[in-house]
Symmetry: D2
Subunit: 318 residues, 4 copies
Amino acid sequence: MNTITKTISRLLLFTALAGVAIQAQQKPCATVSKFGPDDQIGNVNYITPARTLAASKLVTTGKAYRLGIETNKNTPAYGTRTFGITVAQPGQAGGASFGPNKITHNDDMITGWVGIGSQIDGFGHAGIDDLYFNCNRGRDFAQVDGLKKLGIENIPAIATRAVLLDMAVYFGTEMVKEGVAFNRAEIEGAMKRQGIRAIEKGDIVLFYTGWMSLLGKDDKRFIAANPGLGREGARYLASLGVAAVGADTANFEAIPFEQGAGMYEVHQILLALNGIHILENLKLDEMARDKAWESFFTLGPARITGGVQAWINPIVIR
Amino acid sequence: MNTITKTISRLLLFTALAGVAIQAQQKPCATVSKFGPDDQIGNVNYITPARTLAASKLVTTGKAYRLGIETNKNTPAYGTRTFGITVAQPGQAGGASFGPNKITHNDDMITGWVGIGSQIDGFGHAGIDDLYFNCNRGRDFAQVDGLKKLGIENIPAIATRAVLLDMAVYFGTEMVKEGVAFNRAEIEGAMKRQGIRAIEKGDIVLFYTGWMSLLGKDDKRFIAANPGLGREGARYLASLGVAAVGADTANFEAIPFEQGAGMYEVHQILLALNGIHILENLKLDEMARDKAWESFFTLGPARITGGVQAWINPIVIR
Amino acid sequence: MNTITKTISRLLLFTALAGVAIQAQQKPCATVSKFGPDDQIGNVNYITPARTLAASKLVTTGKAYRLGIETNKNTPAYGTRTFGITVAQPGQAGGASFGPNKITHNDDMITGWVGIGSQIDGFGHAGIDDLYFNCNRGRDFAQVDGLKKLGIENIPAIATRAVLLDMAVYFGTEMVKEGVAFNRAEIEGAMKRQGIRAIEKGDIVLFYTGWMSLLGKDDKRFIAANPGLGREGARYLASLGVAAVGADTANFEAIPFEQGAGMYEVHQILLALNGIHILENLKLDEMARDKAWESFFTLGPARITGGVQAWINPIVIR
Amino acid sequence: MNTITKTISRLLLFTALAGVAIQAQQKPCATVSKFGPDDQIGNVNYITPARTLAASKLVTTGKAYRLGIETNKNTPAYGTRTFGITVAQPGQAGGASFGPNKITHNDDMITGWVGIGSQIDGFGHAGIDDLYFNCNRGRDFAQVDGLKKLGIENIPAIATRAVLLDMAVYFGTEMVKEGVAFNRAEIEGAMKRQGIRAIEKGDIVLFYTGWMSLLGKDDKRFIAANPGLGREGARYLASLGVAAVGADTANFEAIPFEQGAGMYEVHQILLALNGIHILENLKLDEMARDKAWESFFTLGPARITGGVQAWINPIVIR
């Protein structure tokens, strides 16, 4: 009885957050999508050709940035995640080659967890007690050989506006401290300082914190905590209809978690309750240096069927 | 002696092709880069901000295309390549969750060969008797735990013009037959028909053949052969300075190989001798249907350190 | 309420089966070991030096049998399990070798699920609603990077008596049909026919069914069902104190399951409730042909830390 | 020319060692088996039922030893080898279970190199310039998806006599120093001290060095070098017809290599030239403490098709 009561109060809480009614096990549920019962892409729906066209006009110099960092066995990894690559020369033992043209070749195999390095979190990544985005239950779709719904392969072409918020400059530091939470006040403050008038539907909001300067120097600190989005800030960005959010940190949200916050609750607010993708470990220093506040952002995650996350390398042009 | 003689004539042949002098084991060698001894990216060097800016002007409707197909255990795979994904719920056996907010999560691991599905071939993929692009010897850089040079992580942001050649319409068919080779005459013929004035330095040239209509219907035929670029066509495109070439086929080049051609010799001409990346298994039908002949092409392959190939999903906007 | 009631009746049922009292979450629980709260090896405890010595006397001809079948990508596999091996020649691209003695070498990597081919099921393999052998909860020990208790590495040296029951001859057939359940009557009947006086503490009981004649001929039938131990037979063998049981089938227990039986309930009875290991996919035809009814059985599963199962190849000598 | 000359002198040298005639590329060759052109198991052929029967008589107390150490991500590993295990609960996200009996289960997957922890080296592991045991060329059988000859699956049941030589006591130390080579004098000296009359055909010779006391304390030293068999000692044991040799070290042979020895030349002498398997990382301290000089040794490596090595856990009984 106690458990049932707690579950109900929890669901009521999330209902309040999401502004939707609860009817357990039937739609609408706590994580219902505003884009209909078959929706698997959430706010990426807001990226229309008109918005893509408008964003393309932000290209004024032709300078292109790759936001991906490298993924390898030394990249700081969460929990027990590991990564390996194997390169072989199939059929070429002893210096064999193929054909009169003596072609030789290498092939590579990956054996590793996807959540290492620059990554996008799909909607199958985080849920609330097994309830994932758009009323999908993990027990129904989270199979061992790949997600049967909400897989990363569903994400359409992403080409939209990116807004970069330089939180380091906002806080007057080189590197924002762990635990510092970005909420509405900080977001609007940074926007004002940078002269950004509005965050709009379909935008990608990127937070520069300077945190990546720890990479290779203090990997333990880098992965254990970071500054990042707070709960109220997440709900604020959700209210604006952003398509995705990202940062130059491993965990994206503020850690240690805000006073009263649950574990990775911002992940739940974004992924499960609002259909907003999260981008982690993005290299943003060059954009920050160039004051590339508004730019044209493109992303095509490799379409691994049933993938939870994806290694990414967004291309931003301004 | 016989072998040595054959090797020498072979190298002389490639020298003739590449127009460079040979001095075995020292630079310049048969596969020397015109961008200097440290170059690892070949013709991607041609993608300058000016060209990126010009290409961005091709965006006129805001329609975006994702060119990636899905990669999974059923995707047609070359040789003995295999692919697997594993999804787990770490720490959540028996329905456990974390925190008062009861967060649950899935993670995914890949165990598979990269050369399955939409992919980019890095310069470490194909060589001539262990000699790879820019005078790099496989024995020096092709280590079992990842390439020590020419790895996929070196590729910079790609944002440039794509030219799509509809070879199916050119040949007056729905699907071009296997073995049909695209050489200078066919390339120029298709360009003329489509009103494309020139292929330029830094361009991506994409061939639509209709071949992907076989996917899921006759996978065996799909992977065994295909129409594609011929040797003379490869040298012609190299002379124009293209950054990369791609197609909606698994092998990219014409198979069965042209009369007198070696095994995957077009791969050698492009990757090893000219520093031109190859994109395979691209989904191009929608672009062809829309007559998206010239468009803005962006690609950021995930930066797996030491990778030979990469799963890709280029985003094209027009 | 309904669920709670059902759970309670279920636990009471298992209590009756196991003859132990239930006190949820505290010992003793439904799966308590008779060998104490720290026990992780169950009835293997019965294999004492005295029993090993006695069993060694069964060697009279010196003929040795390997009971393992091969494991590879074509071995019939349960559910979504897959298997792969990769062989590489590290550091030997282009025909390189090491030292003046020109040593060359191959190395191999496995990427595969352990439950394929001849295998031993550890006590972490099957539980009752997340309750595993000796009152261990899956949520406590079943971590994604390996079991923290009940791992396969805990199994001590196994050297004891094996009793082979030829169920094919008992049923007067070459291959016993799927679903046929071996219970006390069948076990005692086969023993009597073969002149085996008793099954004793620490014994390994092996069932020959002829089922492996399907291998490579009808793999689908082989993996989908088989004859095997029934629930009453499992409890009977448990009452005798056997250390492990095995068969020449993939699922070991009778499938389709007996009337009224749950899913893989015999696995629960053996592994979770009685601490008896299960050996699957054993090649027993040669032993059956030789009428090797009683023999000296040795097994040392590779000690992968935290392993759930292990690929095995028991050596039996008579 | 120079290379050819060196190759020839090298082959002549090995010919002298092996006492066989050379006719390049045709049998007999430098690595020909004395058991015929189809032989894949070398001196394991010497393990006859008569020898197995005789060895079984060495069991006098029934005490059984498992010689395997644990393999996991922390086990000292050679070169770039890595190891991982993944445990999942297929179909059980959110606390789901199966059937009215609520069965839950764990499955495990290995992603790792086999040459970590206790292992047997198959004959496909080490060769002389791509020439492996019994005139097999690597380019012919060493395919990327598994060896097509000399795979570990070919090894028959091993049940024979083990002779343990306590080299630590022989040298009057707790742990023999790295680089100390065991040759005929040391082998015979240790035998004499222990009262072992003869090493015979089909025997397994095990060397205890005390080296494993470094495990977990100085893993770097443990893997980098060790005392072990020397070249002359290897040829001596080969002349006696031993089936396999083993030690409580990672590299088995003396490292730093003996004066004038090539890299891992003892591996070549044993595996390639004489068909003698090598067992590495065996836990022998308990046997040494018990003075278990002669015992009954059984080993059934899991039969992974095309495997180069195998994780092992031999069971020794005395």
